[in-house]
C-alpha cells in the first residue's frame, strides 16, 4: 500500500482532489440552502455555528467521549474474541465445524435484531449495549482472521518447531506478522461497522453519546445539530485513521522490500 506502483495505490485518487471536490460540495450545499431558505436545510455556516456552540458548552465532547468509549470497549472485545475464534477455526477442522454454522447464522442476522434482543433480555444497560455491538462484529473478525490462519506458512511453523520457539515467540514472531494484513483488514472493517452500530445502540437505549443526541435532534427536526454531530464524528474517525491506523500499517510493513530481488 505504501508502494506507489501497487494496485492499491492506483486505486487511490490524487491528494489534491480532496481540496477541490469537498469545497465544491460545500459551495453547492451553501447555494442550495440559500435558495431554499428552510430550517430543514441549514447553511454550512449555521452548522459550523452549532458545532462551535456545542463544543463550547462541553456537550459535544461529553457525547463524543461516551460514544468513543463504547466503540473502544466493543472494538477491543470483538477483535480479541474474533481473533481467537478465527485462529481456532483456521487451525482446527473440529473448531471450524463447530463455529461455521453459527457464523452463517450470525453474519446474516440484522444488527438491529441483536440490539433489540439484548435490550429486551438485559434491560437498557451499558453491558447490553456493548454486547450487542460485539455480537455483531465478532463473526466478521473471525471470518477474516480464519482466512489468515489458513494461509499461515507451514514452513515457518516447522522452523519454529526445530528452533524450539516458545509459545509466545511463535505467536509474536511467526503468527502475528503473517496475520497482520488480516487483522488490519478486520480493524478497518471493524471500526467502520462498530461506530455505525454504536450510534443505533445509543439511539435506541442510552442517554448519552452521539446516537442519543441525534435522536433528540431528530425529534425536534434540528437538522443543524444532526449535521454538526456528523461532522464532528467524521473528523474524529479520520483522525484515528491518520494518527493510529496508517502509521501502524507503515510501521508494520517496513520489512517488505519493494526492490527485493531474491525472495
Amino acid at each position: 500500500m505504501t508502494n506507489p506502483g501497487s494496485l492499491a495505490a492506483k486505486g487511490r485518487p490524487p491528494f489534491w482532489c480532496y481540496w477541490v471536490v469537498l469545497p465544491a460540495f460545500v459551495l453547492i450545499w451553501a447555494l442550495i440552502a440559500w435558495l431554499v431558505q428552510s430550517p430543514l436545510l441549514p447553511t454550512p455556516l449555521q452548522v459550523l455555528d452549532t458545532l462551535i456552540r456545542e463544543s463550547a458548552s462541553g456537550e459535544l465532547w461529553h457525547h463524543l467521549g461516551a460514544t468513543f468509549g463504547r466503540v473502544a470497549v466493543a472494538f477491543v472485545l470483538a477483535m480479541s474474541l474474533g481473533t481467537v475464534i478465527g485462529v481456532g477455526m483456521g487451525r482446527s477442522a473440529t473448531t471450524n465445524a463447530l463455529f461455521d454454522p453459527l457464523l452463517v447464522l450470525l453474519l446474516n442476522l440484522p444488527a438491529l435484531v441483536t440490539i433489540i434482543l439484548m435490550y429486551v433480555w438485559f434491560g437498557l444497560v451499558e453491558v447490553a449495549a456493548v454486547m450487542a455491538v460485539v455480537i455483531n462484529k465478532v463473526p466478521n473478525v473471525a471470518v477474516t482472521v480464519r482466512e489468515g490462519a489458513r494461509s499461515l506458512d507451514y514452513r515457518l511453523e516447522e522452523m519454529a518447531t526445530v528452533y524450539e520457539f516458545t509459545r509466545w515467540q511463535r505467536f509474536r514472531e511467526v503468527w502475528v506478522p503473517q496475520l497482520f494484513p488480516y487483522l488490519m483488514a478486520a480493524t478497518r472493517g471493524g471500526l467502520a461497522l462498530i461506530w455505525k452500530i454504536v450510534l443505533v445502540v445509543e439511539l435506541l437505549g442510552r442517554s448519552s453519546g452521539v446516537g442519543f443526541q441525534l435522536h433528540l435532534a431528530f425529534q425536534v427536526f434540528d437538522v443543524a445539530t444532526i449535521l454538526a454531530y456528523s461532522l464532528a464524528f467524521i473528523a474524529v474517525v479520520q483522525l484515528i485513521e491518520l494518527t493510529i491506523l496508517q502509521p501502524l500499517e507503515r510501521r508494520s510493513s517496513r520489512w517488505r522490500q519493494p526492490e527485493a530481488a531474491n525472495a
Partner: protein, 223 residues
C-alpha cells in the same frame, strides 16, 4: 548418540519403509537417493517434524541440539539476520560471530529478503550454528546455487565440521560429488517403500570411489 527405529511412513501410500540406523558423534553422512524417494521425509522424521512418527522411533533426539538447514532459508522475513539468530538462542555478540563465520560479517542488521540466494542460505547456516548443534541436518544445501557459490558453501561446511569433530551431520543430496568432499559415511535410500539400501562407512581412500561408482551404475540403470 541417535538411533532410528522407524516403522514406516504413509502418505496414503507407503513412502518410508522400516528404517534402522544409528548415528554417532562425528558421523558425516550423505543421504543419497533418487529424487522424490523420501529423503526430506526421513530428515523431517529425524528432526521430529513428522507428528505421525512416534517419538520413540528416534531414540536420543531429545538430548541433542539440532540445527536444520531447510531447502528454503526459512528466516523470518520481518526480522533482521541478527534477530533471527537470537531467536534460535544466540546472544547478540554470538549472532555477529556466527554471521562472520559464514562470511556475513556486518550483515546483522540486514533483512533476509535483501540478500541473494547464496547469502540467505549462508545466513540460515549461521542460524544452525546458533543452537550449538550436536547434529546438523542439511537438506540439499547446494541446490540452485551456481557452481562457484556451491563450491564456497561446501568448503564452508567442511570447515565447520573439521572445527567441531564431535558434531554429526546428515546431508541430503543427489550429487555424489558432494559426498566425496563432505562424507565419511553414505546412506542410500531407495525402493518402494524406501529403505536404506546401503549404510557404508567410508574409511580408506578409494572406498568412496567404489561406492560412488556403484551409485552411478544404479543411476544409469534407473534412466
Amino acid at each position: 548418540m541417535l538411533e532410528l527405529r522407524i516403522a514406516g511412513r504413509d502418505f496414503g501410500q507407503p513412502v518410508l519403509g522400516e528404517i534402522f540406523a544409528t548415528v554417532e558423534k562425528g558421523d558425516r553422512i550423505c543421504l543419497l537417493g533418487p529424487s522424490g524417494i523420501g529423503k526430506t521425509t526421513l530428515l523431517n522424521a529425524i528432526a521430529g517434524l513428522d507428528k505421525t512418527i512416534p517419538q520413540e522411533a528416534v531414540i536420543g533426539r531429545d538430548k541433542l541440539r539440532v540445527g536444520y538447514l531447510f531447502q528454503e532459508h526459512r528466516l523470518l522475513p520481518w526480522r533482521t539476520l541478527s534477530a533471527n539468530l537470537q531467536l534460535a538462542g544466540a546472544t547478540p555478540q554470538e549472532a555477529e560471530n556466527h554471521l562472520a563465520s559464514v562470511g556475513l560479517k556486518g550483515y546483522g542488521h540486514y533483512l533476509p529478503d535483501q540478500l541473494s540466494l547464496g547469502m540467505a542460505r549462508r545466513a540460515a547456516l549461521a542460524r544452525c550454528l546458533a543452537v550449538k548443534p550436536d547434529l546438523l541436518l542439511l537438506d540439499e544445501p547446494f541446490a540452485s546455487l551456481d557452481p562457484v557459490m556451491a563450491g564456497e558453501l561446501k568448503t564452508l561446511i567442511a570447515g565447520i565440521l573439521d572445527a567441531n569433530p564431535s558434531m554429526a551431520m546428515i546431508c541430503v543430496t543427489h550429487d555424489g560429488g558432494d559426498a566425496e568432499i563432505l562424507a565419511n559415511r553414505l546412506w542410500y535410500l531407495d525402493g518402494k517403500p524406501a529403505r536404506l539400501q546401503w549404510d557404508d562407512v567410508v574409511g580408506e581412500a578409494g572406498l568412496i570411489d567404489g561406492l560412488l561408482g556403484r551409485l552411478r551404475r544404479l543411476e544409469l540403470a534407473d534412466s
